[in-house]
């Protein structure tokens, strides 16, 4: 019975902590690798766009960052649902650890969108449906982080934050749809960001960058979960042992 493979075993903090520690360098290496390859394809190999010149190359950051910002919110909501349904401690910490990265991605997406918008539309900000939705997504991230930070009891923080994430995930499609509706009503059709005739190298560049962001997000989230774990479980024996055997996290 003792050695039976069991997912719950990995959900136990004492097991998860060293496991996460071993995984971080791998994902960090993946992130660097994919990042270099993606930037190489995007900046050097991909052809110059005949309409937009070199400026379009910012999409190699912008598009993957937008994807990740939405994807991370979904992953957080997934962990929240698991946490509320099965009362697992690690789930809430996972959601909390992902939030800053998700917010960073949303911010990156807005920032690069503005940088791109200036040469494209002649303005730093236009009330394009996608940009507006991304802005609202950033608000949702900030609201989540503010709520979790305001609650002292970590269990209540996990549960309340999780509930907010689920409410948010139900609302995101409604918000997205309403912003779309509002946008078409007020602006006619705005500039279409994605060209259908996208070159294969461009697609690959974006995919590689997306993998890079993905690995980066996993690596930082794991690192953050580890510090949250240490903080929350600082009274337990395994943390004391961990801290006494300085840097012993890698021990097999």
């Amino acid at each position: 019975m003792k050695d039976r493979f069991n997912l719950y075993r990995f959900a136990s903090p004492a097991t998860f902590y060293p496991l996460a520690g071993r995984m971080i360098p791998w994902f960090a290496a993946f992130a660097a690798l994919f990042g270099l390859a993606g930037l190489y394809l995007g900046m050097l190999v991909a052809p110059t766009d005949f309409q937009q010149g070199e400026g379009y190359r910012i999409i190699f950051i912008h598009v993957p960052a937008s994807w990740m910002s939405m994807f991370i919110y979904l992953v957080m909501a997934f962990w929240a649902a698991i946490g509320l349904a099965f009362n697992t401690r690690l789930s809430g910490m996972m959601a909390q650890a992902l939030a800053p990265t998700g917010a960073l991605m949303a911010f990156l997406s807005l920032w690069t969108g503005a940088l791109w918008g200036k040469p494209m539309w002649g303005a730093w900000w236009v009330w394009d449906a996608r940009l507006t939705s991304e802005l609202i997504l950033l608000f949702l991230y900030i609201g989540y982080m503010a709520l979790v930070a305001a609650i002292d009891d970590p269990r209540r923080a996990d549960k309340a934050g999780g509930l907010l994430l689920l409410v948010g995930v139900v609302n995101i499609p409604i918000i997205y749809f309403s912003v779309q509706w509002w946008n078409t009503l007020h602006q006619g059709s705005s500039v279409n960001l994605t060209k259908s005739s996208m070159a294969v190298t461009m697609l690959w560049g974006m995919l590689l960058m997306a993998f890079c962001f993905w690995s980066y997000a996993i690596a930082v989230a794991l690192a953050r979960v580890r510090s949250i774990l240490l903080e929350r479980e600082r009274h337990t024996d395994w943390v004391k042992a961990e801290l006494l055997g300085v840097g012993d996290g890698e021990r097999a």
Binding site: P154, R234, H235
Partner: protein, 204 residues
Amino acid sequence: MLAAEQLACVRGERRLFANVGFRLDGGELLYLQGRNGAGKTSLLRMLIGLLPPEAGQILWRGQDIHEQIDEYRAELCYLGHHNAIKEELTPLENLLLSARLADETLSEDDALDALEQVGLAGREDLACKYLSQGQKRRVALARLVKERRALWVLDEPFVALDVAAVAWLAGIISGHLQRGGLAVMTTHQPVDIPAGTVRELRLG
């Protein structure tokens, strides 16, 4: 009727207690004792089903309370630290409303009778904000006069009461036990309850 098995409680990052258990049958009273911060109120909140236990379970008539929460609560009366009365309403309104919201039937005559028993005759129609602390506590306690639910959970019921009121409340609790009811309460001052079997549970 009421049984707790292997209960454990963690608040924040502190483990308050573990492996707490007891059994309580009709006509029995359980005194919860322990120093401040030992987890008395937390245990009470577990018993009323607001705080899920970290480990263990609470059984009512042999079944986990969380599997029959509405049925369990129909037999439960809880009196907490707070009086659960509205300052803007009169004692009579408060009493009638709390009965209605708890899905009980309480006639106006019964309510007036209860208020008279707690010594608030003549103040039924005065907004509670004009009453003293002790009088507000009596409004809260007036609920117990006509209360016929099987399990009473009382958190420090004797606080802010004068000697006469303490004796009166002890009598009310005795009557409840004599009718075959159960009671769980915390208190710092041991009060002599004339009827029923008294059990004690010390935390910490």
